[in-house]
């Protein structure tokens, strides 16, 4: 695994592949199963102050290009969630991202205080869940002001480096990413699911998901992820965890070329099994050997196609 070793925010990482929030992250054992299957970093389910049951089923539906899902932020609450993370750390030393979700600065601060007492390595602020609109309205990640306010407040007290999870469902991703960086984010994670979208059952004439809508993931969102990661990479100087439709080694290489330091693999756990992490690791190594890249740093980045000024200007 020598070729795939890297560093992320001061922590050694055995593979750039990340288990993202919402996939296999409900229990310490789910995180561990993913880690021993080849993920270099694992992320907890987004934790809230109190436990949440989530939406009623169906919570996921497949179509040709991927899935739509709306789990509804089900999680056991911050205290039990952190207990699972601490239990994971007893059996595995791979870095853990503790993902948290709230709708106010105060609640993010409360969550951060809990996370400070845990064995987690990084704190991810989920600002971008697209599936709780009925309950909470437009995601915080749609507003550069709210993003800045929350990150700045959390930054003051967090003992862990902060990763902001951004939404793809905006027209001004560079502005939002810059706002997060300026407020003190140590890294960015993008993209969350796209849309949201809807699928219909034509016999019963009903939306398939009980939430009516759900965020898109899977191969269909990869081009969106590549574009957004590159746009953000062009404008900020902090590392990016890139994700969205990454299924094969080639996809992982492409999103690294777009600007990602680490690469999330979520929906592909369904397509290729939990072994997807080791499969992608091997596929990346094959490509790197063919191209004579000795390590991840030697994989070239796409020449920046946007600049801070030109793009933010354009977005105004």
């Amino acid at each position: 695994m020598e070729m795939l070793r890297t560093e992320f925010l001061g922590k050694k990482v055995s593979s750039p592949l990340v288990l993202p929030a919402g996939v296999m992250g409900m229990s310490f054992s789910g995180l561990h199963f993913s880690a021993i299957s080849g993920a270099g970093v694992v992320t907890s389910k987004s934790l809230t102050l109190n436990s949440r049951t989530g939406h009623k089923g169906p919570v996921i539906a497949e179509f040709e290009g991927g899935f739509i899902n709306a789990m509804g932020l089900c999680n056991p609450g911050i205290e039990e969630g952190l207990a699972e993370i601490n239990e994971f750390k007893k059996v595995c030393d791979k870095p853990v991202i503790v993902s948290v979700f709230a709708t106010s600065t105060d609640d993010f601060i409360k969550l951060t205080k809990y996370v400070n007492t845990s064995k987690g390595d990084f704190l991810e602020l989920n600002l971008s869940c697209p599936n709780v609109f009925d309950e909470f309205g437009i995601p915080l990640a749609a507003s550069k002001e709210k993003v800045a306010e929350i990150i700045a407040s959390v930054k003051k007290i967090s003992k862990l480096p902060i990763i902001a999870k951004l939404s793809p469902n905006v027209y001004n991703i560079s502005e939002i990413a810059l706002s997060a960086e300026k407020a003190g984010a140590d890294a960015l994670c993008l993209i969350n699911t796209v849309g949201p979208g809807m699928l219909i059952d034509k016999k019963m004439v009903k939306p398939i998901l009980s939430n009516r809508t759900g965020g898109l993931s899977g191969p269909c969102v990869k081009p969106i992820a590549l574009r957004l990661v590159h746009e953000v990479y062009s404008c900020v100087n902090i590392p990016i965890i890139g994700m969205g439709g990454i299924t094969y080694g080639d996809d992982a290489i492409e999103i690294i070329m777009a600007g990602a330091t680490l690469v999330g693999v979520g929906t592909a756990v369904h397509y290729r099994g939990i072994e997807v992490f080791s499969k992608i690791n091997e596929e990346m190594k094959i490509f790197m050997k063919e191209e004579n890249y000795a390590n991840l740093n030697e994989i070239p980045k796409l020449e920046k196609l946007w600049t801070k000024d030109s793009h933010c200007q354009l977005q105004k």
């Binding site: 919402g22 996939v23 296999m24 992250g25 409900m26 229990s27 310490f28 054992s29 789910g30 995180l31 561990h32 199963f33 993913s34 389910k45 436990s51 949440r52 049951t53 989530g54 009623k56 089923g57 169906p58 919570v59 996921i60 539906a61 497949e62 179509f63 040709e64 899935f67 899902n69 789990m71 089900c74 999680n75 056991p76 609450g77 039990e80 969630g81 699972e84 059996v91 059952d201 034509k202 016999k203 019963m204 009903k206 939306p207 398939i208 009980s210 979520g266 929906t267 756990v269 369904h270 099994g273 939990i274």
Partner: protein, 260 residues
């Protein structure tokens, strides 16, 4: 791709006061132990083990428990439901002398398994347990296909008085079985595990499922992280013996642990 099919319930059989079998005229590629996800698009989608499956139809047997299954209980023949699957692991199909031990509403899975085992030449003994006579499922059907059937009721109202595990214990002591199958509540299977000695087995577990396709992680079992919707619901002995949560706790829809 994961195929969803929406179709009418072709036939409904009332098994007990709270259990019904729905049959669908549809070819499904399913093996014993596997399950489907069923929804009415009114909020709720649950896994149901396949209780019978032939070339052109399949059945699931549904116990009225919560809000969703109470709604299903009012469904009539011809009403539409939407189904996806079949999902999950399936039972090993032995050719030898086997013992199937099940209790309560987990029993119907073993009707499908018994038929496939018999067709494969196995010598099949079934222990069918329930609280009382009114709760026993599939007694006539098991007799009809020619398994050796032992019914057990806790109140002694039908068959032998005692639990399915009590009856299984006697059988295991007096006869030599090559393989053991069990499906039912954790505590029943745990009790069976404690008395079954060295025999090789497979157990079929139940945990709260959401996505059913191995992504969400709600149905993982500690400490291995095995997803009951992909690596399960049927797990082999070598995995079962490693499960620390077996017989101790399960996870709610929120992921919180609850003791049995």
């Amino acid at each position: 791709m994961d195929k969803r099919f929406t179709l009418p319930i072709a036939k409904i059989v009332k098994e007990t006061d709270s259990v019904k079998t729905f049959t669908f005229k549809h070819k499904i590629d399913a093996k014993p132990g596997q399950f489907i996800m069923l929804t009415d698009f009114e909020g709720g989608e649950k896994p149901f083990s396949i209780s019978n499956c032939s070339a052109d139809e399949f059945s699931v047997t549904i116990k009225r428990i919560g809000e969703f299954t109470t709604r299903l209980d009012d469904f009539c023949e011809g009403d539409l439901v939407s189904i996806r699957g079949a999902y999950g692991s399936s039972f090993f199909i032995s050719k030898k002398k086997v013992l199937l031990v099940s209790g309560g509403y987990a029993v119907p899975t073993f009707y499908f398994l018994s038929k496939v085992l018999l067709a494969n030449g196995a010598d099949v003994t079934v222990v069918n347990g329930a609280r009382s006579k009114e709760d026993l499922l599939f007694v006539k059907r098991f007799k009809k296909i020619g398994v050796k059937l032992f019914n057990a009721t806790i109140d002694g109202s039908f068959g032998e008085k005692g639990t399915a595990v009590d009856v299984a214990g006697k059988l295991l002591k007096n006869e030599n079985f090559d393989f053991l199958y069990s499906s039912g509540p954790d505590l029943m299977m745990k009790a069976l595990q404690n008395i079954c000695g060295e025999i090789d087995y497979e157990f079929c577990f139940e945990r709260y499922m959401k996505c059913a396709i191995g992504i969400c992680g709600n149905c993982t079992m500690d400490p291995l992280g095995l997803r009951l919707c992909v690596e399960g619901p049927v797990l082999p002995k070598e995995k079962v013996v490693q499960l620390t949560e077996f017989g101790k706790y399960h996870r709610k829809p929120s992921g919180s642990r609850v003791d049995f």
